[in-house]
């Protein structure tokens, strides 16, 4: 042979751009087939997402139920004392931060009673209170005007003359909604009404047992749904790769390296996983929310919904879609890539 014309073999390295072009073109042209494969991913991820959404909605609804019960218990106590709230003035004393329940009690009180007084230098901080204007007043003024005095928040109480304060107060009973607050000795049991729900030891134990069971159940169902998702996605990917053995064989005859073939399928799988994962997450969330709205009613579900958590789960699901698609495509792609070209050409799948 003529050595002078023999080209020195240069590394046949292909920019990922070429693989991407081939893949995008393939997805576009084989739109019907791609849609079928993506649908497989969508179904898998939608299933996963609906299970996860269901779990957080259920947990949220249970928490919200408990909160609502708590709020209505506190409100009904106030009503038993002051049947007509409107026109009355409410005073708040305390430290630390208001719990969710307390904040909502304040909001409700503001809506019905109107005026909310806060002790200057002795009021718990809170998230934004909707429709509430807290009027900071000195102790003497609060004692003179407030029909009910609440001790709220999880922090220490301000240090001042409680005795004199309650003595001057219109209502010399203080309503305590803070569960674990340490009361000064002067606030004896006769001068306070404990409104926070106190849990007995058995109740607490039952609760933690229930929580543990619930955690186990949710792990179990998540694992099962992940399995279903994996099976759905691998099936879709397997089909999409095997039906192209011929094309792979052709490419190998044209000088494609195995790594190029693998790269191509991994790219394709990630794109399909991304698209499928996104739509799956949206559909799954929508489906689960619809079911729970029908069961529990819209107001309960939406006020209980932890939007941030749900968003995180959705992002996780999209990632899962991409990762599972890649993992599922990797095996058939490797098989296809390592196939002898002639064998790949013969296959008529």
């Amino acid at each position: 042979m003529n050595l002078t014309t023999a080209t020195i073999p240069e590394q046949v390295k292909l920019p990922i751009r070429i693989a991407l072009e081939v893949v995008l073109q393939g997805l576009r042209i084989r739109l019907g087939r791609s849609v079928v494969t993506i649908t497989g991913v969508v179904c898998g991820i939608a299933f996963l997402m609906s299970i996860l959404t269901g779990q957080i909605v259920k947990r949220g609804v249970a928490d919200e139920d408990a909160r609502r019960e708590e709020i209505s218990r506190i409100m009904s106590f106030i009503r038993s004392d002051l049947p007509k709230l409107s026109g009355h003035t409410i005073g708040i004393v305390g430290g630390g931060t208001l719990s969710e329940v307390e904040a909502r009690v304040v909001e409700q009180l503001a809506g019905e009673a109107g005026t909310i007084l806060a002790l200057k230098g002795g009021t718990p901080s809170a998230r934004t209170l909707h429709g509430v204007t807290l009027r900071p007043v000195p102790a003497a003024q609060m004692a003179g005007e407030a029909s009910v005095i609440f001790i709220m928040g999880d922090g220490n109480l301000p240090d001042f003359d409680w005795n004199g304060f309650l003595g001057q107060a219109l209502n010399n009973l203080a309503a305590v909604t803070a569960p674990d607050v340490k009361l000064p000795p002067v606030l004896t049991a006769e001068r306070t009404v404990q409104l926070a729900r106190a849990w007995s030891a058995e109740e607490l134990e039952a609760k933690s047992l229930e929580a543990r069971k619930e955690r186990f159940r949710s792990i179990w169902i998540t694992v099962i749904s992940l399995l279903v998702t994996v099976i759905g996605i691998s099936n879709a990917m397997l089909m999409s790769v095997t039906e192209r053995f011929r094309e792979i064989g052709t490419m190998k005859c044209l000088g494609a390296l195995s790594s190029f073939v693998t790269q191509m399928f991994v790219l394709e799988a990630s794109i399909m996983g991304l698209v499928g994962g996104f739509f799956g997450a949206v559909l799954g969330a929508a489906f689960a929310l619809t079911v729970y709205v029908i069961t529990y009613g819209g107001s309960l579900v939406f006020s209980a919904l932890p939007v941030g958590t749900m968003f995180l789960y959705a992002v996780g699901c999209v990632f899962a879609g991409v990762a599972l698609s890649i993992v599922a495509a990797l095996y058939p792609a490797k098989v296809a890539a390592s196939m002898v070209p002639a064998t790949a050409l013969r296959s008529t799948v």
Binding site: M1, T7, I8, K13, L254, G255, L257, V340, P341
Partner: protein, 264 residues
Amino acid sequence: MAKIDMKRFQALFEEPGEQEQSVIIRGVDIHKIYRSGPQETHALRGATLDVYRGEYLSIMGPSGSGKSTLFNAIGALVKPTSGRVYIDQVDIAQLDTEELAWLRCRKIGYVFQTFNLIQVMTCLENVTLPMSFAGLSTEEARDKGIRILKMVGLGHRILHKPAELSGGQQQRVAVARALANSPDIILADEPTANLDQSTGQEIIDLFKNLQNTLGVTIISATHDTKMLQASDRILWIEDGVIVKAARPEEMTFTSDKFGAHGHH
């Protein structure tokens, strides 16, 4: 991606026996056994052949005689069970997968009975794909692709998809693709079997033309005696062995059988 060992690769090309200068492919005692479970098919039983640089060689034989297997073996598409295949004096059994890819990419152009175009790509993209594999830039590949497609008479069809073309036109695209990286050899496995008589003849004429103008070695398998006239030499394969070699003028053609008073 592992780097190719240049020294080794070059060394493989660097043992030219002077008197064998003109042999471009040599197959020595090639056996191929296909195994599927307990079933064994002895597709090649010691096929030996030389292909000369620049010739038009036809491999003739009935269906199932092992033409495709031989074609795949000398085209570095399958590993023979035993025996040697030399392409340009390189024993291809010694090449690793990347070197084989290099060989398939630049040394040999393949044409198949079923065209095997990539359906999702346009004609031009089908032709430029092997160029991308060889590392050509997109622009270079485009220009060259258009030039080759014009050469095979498809200058007006470059942006069509294979499915929009007739069988003959698709096979022309396949030929253009085989020519993409200016190979020394074109291996065609029954390239006319899926075409009608006159379209098939056009493909044969195209091969003849490429042989004459570019000096490409053409190896074409066929079981159609009408396709033999263009060839310089004909090898007859039967049950996995080359049983005779002949020149077309040495053969007497009858309707479906032919006899040769040739060599071997």
